[in-house]
């Protein structure tokens, strides 16, 4: 069935999408599998804000290769370390980007890679500590040229 929208309805949906970005998550507007992936990673627990530094450009001219640095505050000792950091996006065809696995042997929970972004969207990082606690951070990147080809 094809649904036709008039201008007013389209604007209403747009406003709904903005509400989603502001944190009021509504599954009806979820564009990709981002919520599912985060849910799977956290086991349904809600991660706290903070501890993660997500370094991305404000504006990416070329979405084909966007440099990204993720670092997490942690002493990285046997008693307390970051075990995993998952990075997802809410605007790519598929939400998954990368999962980093750290251990006390890493010394520092920091990694850098280059990612693809199809359009202007939010990049979200979720970190899991060895004691099971969770932290999250998000950053919006404006993309001039999309990076998924096609």
């Amino acid at each position: 069935m094809r649904v036709l929208l008039n201008r007013r309805q389209a604007l209403a949906i747009g406003a709904g999408a903005v509400a989603v970005l502001n944190g009021a998550v509504s599954p009806a507007f979820a564009k990709n599998d981002v919520d599912e992936l985060i849910g799977k990673f956290t086991g349904g627990k809600k991660p706290a804000e903070g501890k993660i530094k997500l370094d991305l450009p404000e504006i990416a001219e070329n979405g084909n290769t966007v440099p990204m640095t993720v670092s997490v505050e942690s002493p990285m000792t046997e008693q307390s370390y970051v075990s995993e950091v998952m990075v997802v996006t809410d605007g790519n065809p598929r939400a998954g980007v990368v999962t980093f696995h750290f251990s006390p042997a890493s010394g520092v929970a920091e990694a850098n890679t280059r990612i693809r972004l199809a359009s202007t969207q939010n990049v979200i990082a979720v970190a899991k500590m060895n004691d099971g606690s969770l932290f999250t951070a998000a950053k919006q990147v404006k993309v001039t040229i999309g990076g998924c080809g096609g």
């Binding site: 980007v97 990368v98 750290f102 251990s103 042997a105």
Partner: protein, 108 residues
């Protein structure tokens, strides 16, 4: 693979407990499985999906890559120098083949 991975450590010799930074670049198309060719057929996905680094036989860092990783993947990370030995970086392709790069770290 046409060219071997390029691997660089910020120091070749380290004191025990020092933090060593690793930078690595490998040539790979990282075909996302989302693109279509001229006939409109989807080009099948072909990416490096797993990266692992071991130092003197112990795993220090690994990462699971998704199609959203840019072509010719670059990775930068750190590890704590513990003992002298080979630094081995392994990338696993979707087809099961592996790209392996190696360098050395001397720990005093």
């Amino acid at each position: 693979m046409a060219s071997p991975p390029r691997i660089k450590l910020d120091k070749k010799e380290a004191k025990k407990g020092d933090i060593v930074e690793v930078k690595a670049l490998v040539a790979h198309v990282m075909e996302s499985g989302q693109r279509k060719n001229a006939e409109g057929k989807v080009i099948p996905r072909k990416i490096l999906n797993k990266f692992t680094c071991t130092v003197a036989g112990k795993e220090v860092f690994s990462a699971d890559f998704e199609p959203a990783i840019a072509a010719n993947p670059y990775i930068q990370f750190k590890f704590k120098a513990q003992e002298t030995g080979p630094v081995v970086l392994t990338w696993v392709d979707d087809d099961g083949s592996k790209i392996v790069g190696q360098t050395e770290i001397a720990v005093s």
